[in-house]
Symmetry: C2
Subunit: 197 residues, 2 copies
Amino acid sequence: MGYRIRMAGDASPSTDPVQLAQDRFIALWGRMGSSWGIPRTMAQVHALLYIVGEPMNTDDIMARLRISRGSASMTLKNLQDWGIVSRAVVPGERKDLFTTSSDIWKLFRTVLRERKKREIDPLIDALRNCRELTDSHQKPRRLFAASRTRDSHAEEHNKRLDAMIDFLTMIDALAQQLIQPSGKGLALAAKFFSRAS
Amino acid sequence: MGYRIRMAGDASPSTDPVQLAQDRFIALWGRMGSSWGIPRTMAQVHALLYIVGEPMNTDDIMARLRISRGSASMTLKNLQDWGIVSRAVVPGERKDLFTTSSDIWKLFRTVLRERKKREIDPLIDALRNCRELTDSHQKPRRLFAASRTRDSHAEEHNKRLDAMIDFLTMIDALAQQLIQPSGKGLALAAKFFSRAS
DNA sequence: GCGTATTTTCAAAATGTTTTGAAAATTCTT
DNA sequence: AAGAATTTTCAAAACATTTTGAAAATACGC
């Protein structure tokens, strides 16, 4: 409570600077989301919950972002699946209320964890499988010039593929470190890097 | 030279394991690209050049990926704008030849540099502008209860917005460090992190 | 269990993005 | 400078993704 959120039906553009700033933030965050492969609406709903700072129900979210009920419902479901939005329990409330953490580092780690799990790890697995296709089990016998050429061709290929797999494995390890809730994460990293330069 | 690339008109699926592995790599890289906001074809062209390891001309790329001339042309242009593909100069060649670096760290830094420049920096700027909307220049006079409430509302808002700006500034600084061609970049970071844990 | 409030689902529509293909522009050769 | 080869451009088409809205499902209070 404490202040008034723009309500459904209140279509006039606000003149309240906070309201304006919120809208701008939401738009910016939505755009940034889509340039990193996150649906604009999903990023916007998250931005709204973040910047408003208190739990909102579906109707308020719909009204504020001018999206349909279906879209709001699916988006909120996805945000929950990603672990960055949760239902708030507020006694006496009929409708579900949603919140997001106000700790950005936590949000960041959550997103990183999800993307690692869904995208990086399966990619590395698939690349390792791919690598096996050219992992000559049989001893190279090199009877003909042609097969010698072919072998070195395969070797070059393997070198490049291995380099890529190593790189991703490295990124993966780094992500793992950032995900750990233990350390201060990037804050530490920053210190390290700024010393190093 | 040295080996044969599958040519235009050669539509039969290869049985050569290297060829198969290349195709799989290309498909995987394309998929990963699109989940990170990079057009699939763009990622695929890059993957092709990377995994084949030698310069290719537009026709070969078109044939291998089964894409149109227009698509190939635009994609190659974009990849060049991003700085991860360049024209190779090979004497005696009529057609333009394209290559990508075989150094993945270099590629990574290039992509990071571009995305920082195009997405992160402008976002931070825009957020700073946004922040000014609620930066009360006038001294708070607090004559009425209502305006007191309003102020604290704005203060809370500013806190959240500042936290976001600080976070992004931090990420930006980290990116800057990784971009520097000087250090070993992530390799060092990795060492640091694995010790830290 | 019934009626009401709320949430979810999903086929169809809207929107946004990528690709095509052929014409225009450019570059190269003689 | 003409002609041939190559590359670029861009409007239209194809494709992919997101959004809608209304029906179905679920949860809630009595």
